[in-house]
Amino acid sequence: MKNPYLPMSCVIKETKKETADIKTISVELPDLPAPFDYAPGQFNQISVMGVGEMPISIGSRLDDKTITHTVRAVGEATSKLVELDAGDTIGLRGPFGQGWPLEAAAGKDLLLATGGLGLAPLRALLDLIEAERDRFGRVNLAYGARTPGDMIFTDRFDRWRVIPDFELFLTVDHVPKEAVWEHATGVVTHVFDRLTVDPARALAFTCGPEIMMRFVANSLLIRGFDQNSIFVSMERRMECGMGKCGHCMIGPKYVCIDGPVFSYAQVKALPHNIIAGKGLAA
């Protein structure tokens, strides 16, 4: 029987500092019988041995054996992880969870609305849009951060801007005095007036703090998005990633196996969340 608790040991190939506390880590997978296959929006359980395990979204695939993870130091394990450098070893098991609904998105317009580190779980999807542009209609990426310095993947912005039928809207809450900023200010929903996707034929994917996703969803519902067309990526405490330890439960749903991506309609039926308020009845 395969033991799904055992992490593979992987070597870090390179690391890149994105912001003051966020780092992108490229890890080399060991030789596997089959290629490591994952869908955009899925996550891995990354171990820093001796410290602990944490769920981290899977980013880009750099080559057959190398994938990236983008991590913010928020606590014990994440802080140790961002301290590591090329050559260090980490543990990895995965991929886990249900990613973004790509089948439903085929041929549709896409709105990706996200804030801060929330762009990380969309990175693999952006790679896919770039590589297989014909699969989707018009794409809008609305990305907000606290300050320009808190934006991640800034080196990719120009690449994304030249994708056909692709608009990138940037916004920050606050511009420090010394910074130059030629884009919008305000929360991410402020750029929604300029969207070029058609609400009637678009899916919206959003990821970020739950309170932000609440504002995004509300704003999109007002603009005519259907509640089955809005998808959120949720975060809960995780231990196993396999629907067994119970920590990630929201009502009867497990974020680790039923999610992390849920439709707004699904979330509305769940208790104990901020996105759609509380309550069990739809």
Partner: protein, 278 residues
């Protein structure tokens, strides 16, 4: 291997039992291995090394409660000299047994104990973190060996120790114990504070059919009113309830709430001296 942590252990008002415990611990190999991570430069009970003025410590253990104004100066100095300060034992954490006295006016206490109270310089007892920031707290009367090892290893490895926040009941059930709060009637031995006390002692008391008397202080967010109601329902008197809550950690805001609930007393420190009452 990381360098050893330069460590000092200071004693204030207490019975020194927790210090003694360190020597007494049933010493398995792993315990000695852990102890080996420390370089004690000051530990009165175990070494003859003298305290050096203005030394610097990686780690300072403070045992005991603060009960004189000089103590306050001393702990403040220790804080300045040390990277990590660990409160060591129930007295440092919550005042310990002697904190029972805090519920009686100081003058009355002194008159009872000393022939010439006007010469006394002591104040009411206080937990150490009343005066200085304490980084970690080893709770309990006495401290627990496994928890001690966890803390030291974590500090040596520069990571957070895994100290449990949940109540004693969890460990009690892990230990397959009968619940004495429910099963034994009418005796003080059934007056168990386990549902509101923080775990980590590996149920030293309930394992032996004795009620938990809360030596490790409150868990995070305990339900004190319900604990009081439960005791009352079992027929315990107001005084018994008061005594149970104040035995070791009555100075914690949580347990002092329990102590006050049925015993019409004010919290410690707010007791108005009798001479001003009239």
């Amino acid at each position: 291997m990381a360098d050893k942590l330069k460590t000092a252990l200071f004693k204030f008002t207490c019975c020194a039992g927790c210090q003694f415990q360190l020597l007494y611990f049933f010493s398995p190999e792993s315990f000695l291995e852990t102890l080996d991570l420390l370089d004690f430069v000051y530990f009165r009970m175990a070494t003859s090394k003298e305290l050096k003025e203005d030394d610097h410590y990686d780690l300072a253990f403070i045992e005991g409660a603060i009960s004189t104004t000089e103590d306050i100066e001393k702990v403040k100095k220790i804080r300045k000299q040390s990277d990590i300060v660990v409160g060591y034992g129930a007295c440092a954490a919550h005042g310990g047994v002697q904190s029972i006295g805090d519920w009686t006016p100081q003058r009355k206490l002194e008159e009872t104990v000393y022939p010439n109270p006007l010469q006394m310089k002591s104040i009411k007892v206080h937990p150490v973190d009343e005066f200085i920031r304490v980084d970690y707290q080893l709770r309990g009367c006495p401290i627990d060996e496994v928890e001690f090892m966890e803390l030291i290893r974590a500090l040596a490895a520069k990571k957070e120790p895994y100290l449990r926040e949940y109540p004693v009941c969890v460990e009690c059930k892990f230990a397959n114990n009968i619940c004495i709060l429910l099963m034994r009637q009418g005796v003080l031995e059934s007056m168990c504070l386990g549902p509101v006390t923080r775990a980590g002692c590996r149920v030293a008391c309930t394992r032996n059919m004795r009620a938990c008397f809360g030596c490790r202080g409150p868990m995070t967010n305990p339900n004190i009113p319900e604990m009081v109601r439960t005791f009352k329902g079992k027929g315990f008197t107001e005084h018994e309830i008061f005594t149970r809550f104040t035995e070791y950690a009555g100075l914690s805001p949580e347990f002092s709430e329990g102590a006050r609930a049925y015993y019409e007393r004010k919290a410690p420190y707010y007791e108005r001296p009798e001479w001003r009452a009239a």
